[in-house]
Symmetry: C2
Subunit: 386 residues, 2 copies
Amino acid sequence: MTNKNIKIMILGADGYLGVPLSVDLALKGFNLTLIDNYVKRKLSAKYLRQPLNKINKIETRVKQLEKINKNITFSNIDCRDSNRFDQIFKKVKPDIVVHFAEIPSAPYSMLGTDEGWNTLNNNLKSTYNLISSVKKHNKDCHIIKLGTMGEYGTPNIDIEEGWLDIHHRGRKDKFLYPRQGSSLYHMSKIMDTDLLWFNVRMHGLQVTDLMQGPVYGIHTSEFAKDNHLETSFAYDDIFGTVLNRFIVQAIANIPLTVYGSGSQIRGYINLKDTLQCINLAIQNPPGKDKLSIYNQFTEQFSVNELSKIVKNALKYINIDVKINHLDNPRVESEKHYYNADNKGMKKLGLKPTLLTKDTIIEIAEYVIKYKKRINKKIIQPKINWK
Amino acid sequence: MTNKNIKIMILGADGYLGVPLSVDLALKGFNLTLIDNYVKRKLSAKYLRQPLNKINKIETRVKQLEKINKNITFSNIDCRDSNRFDQIFKKVKPDIVVHFAEIPSAPYSMLGTDEGWNTLNNNLKSTYNLISSVKKHNKDCHIIKLGTMGEYGTPNIDIEEGWLDIHHRGRKDKFLYPRQGSSLYHMSKIMDTDLLWFNVRMHGLQVTDLMQGPVYGIHTSEFAKDNHLETSFAYDDIFGTVLNRFIVQAIANIPLTVYGSGSQIRGYINLKDTLQCINLAIQNPPGKDKLSIYNQFTEQFSVNELSKIVKNALKYINIDVKINHLDNPRVESEKHYYNADNKGMKKLGLKPTLLTKDTIIEIAEYVIKYKKRINKKIIQPKINWK
């Protein structure tokens, strides 16, 4: 089967990951249905957290993509709307759905009662509607769902890839690896995982669940650069991820804001590697009745290490980086054990893009182009977990 | 502090458990706020699954209860309505909330897409709103939440009370015991537990989570009998629990319907013991920052054993019981290991009411009073998990 006969639906095609994935899969010739309701743009506007760069609407981007691939359509649909979602799913009957249609911010989810519920409800309902349509119209559809490493929290034992064999009083069984989130956003992702696993067990669906670590960086395809198809770059306290924020702070000549002691360890991944991972997931369907879980990160760092890596790398382009420790606005363990497995994706063929000096300088040079647009007021954390 | 100074709010005060608990706590002199929106009555009516007996509306019942306790009010509120719920919570500022406000049926949740979402959304939103109001208005409030033994599923290892110490590669940590539900109803209860535990960790709430096994039986307080304050008795395929259904089938002279092989094992509890357990939970608050979990059942039986216990008991009142095995409408393991701990409530002082011949005959005699109202058409299972 050639790629043009493979129908892929991307839910959340306007997001940080959805935009470059759309370009990447368009270049590879897949038949694409892009879905988004611009909810993240609306939230960015509402909370005055605009990204560094301005990106075109999907309608415009689809026209650009049509230069290389005619089989691309966009539908402005809220995935919470079960009727409209089911209509498009029934019409397209995708072979694969990549599900990014989730509100992706831990701080947003902890802002207040409404924002917390909005996150839980949006994320769980989108996943529920997707599952319902798959069950009704194409049970063989491969669901590729973006989860988060944050679902595991910071347990005092090694983090395995999704599952854990438990021996207890002379007997044993295999379970989902224990989950314990540190924000309502993370809780919503845990509930998604539970719901997907339930439907794999009960209804034989096939699902790949990707536990992604904090993602950073830019998409560097030549086609995207030449055709104004770049993705958004958030650096604010709500939608920005830590490394992107640090680099923007460095370029804006303000200290990097390390929350608390900075000894919190996480597994990180470059946006380029996220695209590799989604492609590997597409090429490796788990098969009926199976949930495949991968830990999608390439390297573990503490926040302190991360800030020092940025500081050391940017010396080479004569930027002097200062580091500032803030009271931690989050409720999270700062001193904790962390050792997570990430062999699965490497086994499938992932070639990690490491967080080298060059990687950081490439991102910094990108940020420098937009230096005038940096809004220093939206970087300091304003949402307190307590 | 005397009981009249202790404010208890019962969410779901019109349910099978809510009704007798209201009577019991009224007799004990607590200051009570009863909340319900009659959703279960509405669902019973919609799906033509009326209970065996007709019970008064709460408004009428409150008038009866006022003979013994003046401090009882009822508010017809949908706990999903965050504004109205928050208003009443803010006004009352209860010391204790007993949270039964959940759609309680596994088959209902598996009936279709809408019913599944209705279950997930109703149960999670009620719990979310309760937590939000507790955080805002009285962080010391003791939340007593009804969960279900079904959250654990049927693992191949012993079921502990809520938690599991896990040793893995030379390290150890304590986690929520792994959960894996077998219906969307059970999944909603798992999500509730996750959300409560999250809020205990993050915001220092105090919660008692009661993992109850299938409940059976009747409330036998003299006051309730004399004042038309009995609770509803469901026996249908959606809202009836298995033992109550078996006894009704026996009285109606139709075979007991055992689903599948009947070797499914569960932990059961008499309604009288549920009341004991809630009272013990009231008397034993976990304290700030703590989630206490109890497995709320008294005896384990397979469905086959249960059907034989009914058959043998009813011989004594000259009822000849037939047993019929049906294709299992559920997706569940039939041959499985099951060994669940239930020491916690016994340690607090629970005196179990065992499933003796007399217990069954007492229920059977109650059912006989309503024999004419038995609707044989609503007993056979009509909802198939697949």
